[in-house]
Symmetry: C2
Subunit: 199 residues, 2 copies
């Protein structure tokens, strides 16, 4: 076996990330293991640890790719040239659709918790703010009487709120009698929030 040199370190990295994504999609976050990923790309665990610091590092890098995919998904679905309200509703619907379509992958985005409350790496924060940026842009049309900073803050509040609705629904923390759907809740949120924010 050893030293086949068939793949560069970067190729192995990409193969491993692909394999990890497939495993997560098929078996969920908990189904992921170093031996499974290694087996799927025809290498052994040892090789994986040459390319990744540890399994958390691998998960973080998969999450990085998920953030990229999420950004593209949202960008492709935003409502162009419409008013703020419609733009935000489209964005919220797209986010919800992503979470429901790619649930295990989306779940992993938040199940990964840094130990000891350490911050996430810079490149990860950048990808996150790129996603948040979409909400800021959608809110911009209201910018005439609100400061740049206020818009940024409102965008983050809305984003976090839609995310919360999404989370509780998908994790079955809102399976209550007479409950609304995720989309309805997000619309109710945005409609009422914007009435306050516009005035």
């Amino acid at each position: 076996m050893a030293r086949r040199s068939d793949h560069s370190r970067e190729e192995i990295r990409q193969m491993a990330l692909n394999a990890a994504e497939a495993i997560v999609a098929a078996e969920g976050y908990k189904g992921l293991s170093a031996r499974k990923v290694a087996g799927a790309i025809d290498y052994t665990v040892g090789t994986l640890y040459l390319v990744f610091e540890n399994l958390d590092d691998l998960v973080l890098q998969v999450n990085g790719r998920t953030l990229d995919a999420l950004y593209e998904w949202l960008r492709a679905r935003r409502a162009p040239g419409t008013d703020s309200r419609a733009g935000l509703l489209a964005l919220a619907d797209a986010y919800i659709a992503y979470a429901e379509t790619e649930t295990p992958r989306w779940n992993m985005l938040f199940e990964y918790v840094t130990e000891q409350g350490n911050a996430l790496p810079d490149w990860y924060q950048m990808k996150l703010s790129k996603v948040f940026g979409l909400a800021e842009v959608a809110l911009k049309p209201l910018a005439d009487h609100r400061s740049e900073e206020e818009i940024r803050q409102a965008a983050r509040v809305l984003w976090a709120s839609v995310h919360g609705i999404c989370t509780l629904k998908i994790r079955h923390r809102m399976d209550l009698a007479g409950g609304q759907g995720t989309g309805e809740m997000a619309h109710m949120l945005i409609d009422n929030f914007l009435q306050g924010f516009e005035s």
Copy 2:
């Protein structure tokens, strides 16, 4: 050893739940293990499996107690006899304070995911809606021109939203430059939402 009969099954259950809570508080969700819990109450793993179906069952029951504790925490901190806005702000602040004070315990509440998208047991849903009910009560003073159902929905939307803000902050998904604090974000949310909801 065997059959000491020192403790009833229910006593063992309570002792195990206490021990589990202490372990989670000290080492976090990932630090929890059957052997650790068993060791802490001077029994062996086998006994644990007489009392709990499996470790997920134990986690679920710890979460049940956490929901009870959270309910009491919130109830003790709500602002009595004030208007809706103040009441909701107090509730949000209390929720945020609980999450920040009892972070590992609060985290476990949502890190536990049912496999295959199965719903959570009824007794768990009951505890959840009891907590949500606090927001409904706080919103009630606006009930004159809104239906009971609308209030229920708005309460859940607000709850999920505050939860979302809390989650992203605590999991470091909003450590962005110039970011506001959790409380400020929740206040911005409630203030703007209520302006829309009241009108």
